[in-house]
Amino acid sequence: MIKKQTGQVILALILIMTVALAIGLSVVQKSLVDVSTSTKVEESSRAFSAAEAGIEKALQPGSTCGANCISFSENSSKADVAGGNLIPCIPGSPGCTEISGQQQTPLEYPPLAREEVAHFWLADFTSTLNPPSQFYNPPNHTLDVYWGDSAFPSDKAAIELTLVFYNGTKYDFKKWYLDQASAIRNPPPIGFDTVPCSGDNIITSTVADPTTCASSQVTYQCKVTLGSLPPNMMLLRARLLYNTNSQPLAVQATGSGGSCTGVTYNGCYIPPQARAITSTGASGETQRKVKVCQVNKVVPPYFDYAIFSVGAISK
């Protein structure tokens, strides 16, 4: 009898072994990937904890923290901290990149949700006098305000600004209601001024710059120059309206020139009042970064509906 089916057994054998090989390879590959991932995730946790530790240390008053601020040798993690100086710095002061007489960099606030309030000090908030001594009082009596993020072109925010100042005998306030797109509001807003937002409205902050409170590089939607500002300005409070996404805002002092020197800088600059602290934690090859913006002596939002009084209030 002729054997017609020679070689079939070996073919079957090879097929079965190939399948087994494929299964085995996939199991081994999964285990290798798993181990690598879990090691990296553990390092990531250690790096994040170290980064948070750096922030905690830098937030303490009187603390100086820089590179290698934190070093946990027992679990091989460390953190470098950058920033921590008061911003916006006064041009010409030690450590400030702007030279004397240059315009001050804008003070950028982290993104605000709708109805949240941003608070900018214009008087010297460390002053022990009552009312606090004035700090910002430029010769041209103006202040630039930027708001909105151009990355959201269809989410146009309106802004409500409240300037609190001391008129000699009592605290007074001045309000602006500015909208860049009143036509699309429903119902239409009453009492808002329309501002055309175009042209000269760009500030860009650098993501890598640890000395700004902005959370990322921003091109603002709108810029407005508030004019005819009264003397003895205390603070400016800004509230964003109609926005869906959280959007950033900034104010910038308009004073510049050779006369912006002296103890009070001739009122050209707004007082340094915020701190931006960036902490980069590292463990092994993994790095995690935490950024914190700290603003001191901020009045909570419900004080917008309260009374500022020089003396005691009696009912």
């Binding site: 991932t37 904890s49 905690e56 937030l59 934190i70």
Partner: protein, 132 residues
Amino acid sequence: MKPSGFSLIELLLVIIVIGTSVFLLANLPNALNLISKSNHLSLAREIASKQIEDKRSINYVNLVLDTSDISDSRLSLLPSSSGTVVVENCDVAICTNSEHIKKIIVTINWKDNNKNQTINLETFIGEGGINQ
């Protein structure tokens, strides 16, 4: 007359295939152990992170300087596991200005194939800091 038997190439191929598959199969239990080990590592990390977050949500003045055991129900998923949370004052070497900072050290130990494994997370909590 055609000789019966196997050709050289067939033999070589079979030897190679059998050798590789034996090697892989022998490593299969090893691979499964590695997967289980990495799962445990991830779980331990989750438990440790949660302990730190829990400490951050406590007011700074209420953070007691002590060593306490971790009581997380997920700890039972790790074989022969135990964990401690140590709250102590910040080292004078790091906190040179005697800042109000406390150091948190979370350690979790467990056994994988009778080998001791441990993970360690350390951080600071300061008065008026994050979440305070």
